[in-house]
Symmetry: C2
Subunit: 325 residues, 2 copies
Amino acid sequence: MFALNFSVNKMQNRITSLFNIQYPIIQGGMVWCSGWRLASAVSNAGGLGLLGAGSMHPEVLRGHIQKTKQATQKPFGVNVPLMYPQIEELMAIIIREKVPIVFTSAGNPELWTQKLKDAGITVVHVVSNSRFAIKSKETGVDALVAEGFEAGGHNGREETTTLCLVPQIRKAVDLPLIAAGGIGSGQAMAAMFALGAEGVQLGSRFAASVESSAHEAFKQQIVLAKEGSTHLSLKKLVPVRLLENPFYQKVNELEQNGASVEKLKELLGKGRAKKGMFEGDLEQGELEIGQVSASIHSIQPVQSIMNELVSEFNATMKSISSIQW
Amino acid sequence: MFALNFSVNKMQNRITSLFNIQYPIIQGGMVWCSGWRLASAVSNAGGLGLLGAGSMHPEVLRGHIQKTKQATQKPFGVNVPLMYPQIEELMAIIIREKVPIVFTSAGNPELWTQKLKDAGITVVHVVSNSRFAIKSKETGVDALVAEGFEAGGHNGREETTTLCLVPQIRKAVDLPLIAAGGIGSGQAMAAMFALGAEGVQLGSRFAASVESSAHEAFKQQIVLAKEGSTHLSLKKLVPVRLLENPFYQKVNELEQNGASVEKLKELLGKGRAKKGMFEGDLEQGELEIGQVSASIHSIQPVQSIMNELVSEFNATMKSISSIQW
């Protein structure tokens, strides 16, 4: 006879099977926060760690991929914003380095999905509405991330929240589905499973982890963030969720007065996100983070975040499972 | 011995006990949609129906209260926006007519909570952040509604989504908690219970019901709404979520060009909501509805909506209850 508790932690679903991971918890690939240290720590803890290629020159990404491979034997991936300028070079490195999983975002997956799949790579695309979900499926992606309005950084134009978006995508396509935006706890993870998601992607919580490459001053700002501290901003360019700071205040002032695209581009300039998130310039830098930052109260090691997520999830499922009306 | 299945549909929690109802499902009190027909139908179906006093002259409300009492023996309530101009007169009628439950919204609950409670009325306040939740508790309210960014009609300034808001309020106060905004299905209801809510309030789904007093043309627009069809608008006045139509387009154009508060007030004028929602002027009227309208595909009787919500909720709980990582 097998012991009954033999199966603990051996549960599988389509997301854990697809990535060959223990927990259906993905660390979002973020600019300036998610290098090899963070990605390998998440993968080592049983989730899926993603390098954020959006803020890396191709050669820098190659270095991070190689270091990640040294730091973990587990699967990991790279997030590639499809508007990346030297994307050919970047993708060539990803393929040559045999990265097993690529998440694409911020663009049309048509051009790259099949090329990546031909190289044996598992491809996931991030969407913010069900129209793009259906298109993505047609390009052959293996899974989808449905990311809502509350997410940090670049965001959809339709402002559909995670609560409204996940059921829409679930209904539109039958692919394995990862929910993102506003998720920072095992309770929220359980809520996403109730909506039909099979995995969750967390950005903000991991941006504030010990292993995140974000500047310490930015991590402290995440911990200090309150309800209402983030705003979806720069909507006339690409909508991006930012933490309130003097730079945001300037953007907001311009926007309230109906500033043109050109005016906003001029203010934004270049390198704002690096300045804020990586170099810790809290005044003039761009600080990308999600609404859920209001629920983040300490900078924790990845392993402790993962332990909390899983135990909160299990406790939540146990406590609500007896509710039947 | 008692039969084991005796307890089916006899489940209680703090919300059902507080209101003495069968299911922890509240029909939000809405302007121009929720008169006596809708409120009594929801109460008769085992939920809690609310009259929307915001669009009723005091004498009109009195009529609706009396008709509701004739149409149901079950508990019902009234939603009162606290910025209502003749609020003294309105509250006097509510107290004289012995309405058992009042939901207050859009204002400071300090002035009215104790007066209503002294009259034996159960008082619930609608909040969009935890600061107001704590303040509301201090005024002595019996329960709270936490309403997120995706909700239709008047909305909070901080744009916190339901997924992020409910856990914040849950943590801030220990009162019975009702989640609102973006909820239109039993799956979403289950998700809210995972976040710690003990009940849900639905507006849009009931606005599109057979018993709703909304104009048929408006109901059809709700059914036709897609992802991205609603927008949080008029933020320089009081933020309100509207369905896209020629009136919204005019507001948006002004806002994109940095229009002043005065300009926006001038465009808004008076009676826009009545014109759109009650009289069915789809061009020039204001059509208030939530993001979840994208998931509403038919105009159903209240009883059928309630049946669906409860059976979806139970099926969801059953299907996710075995998930443990």
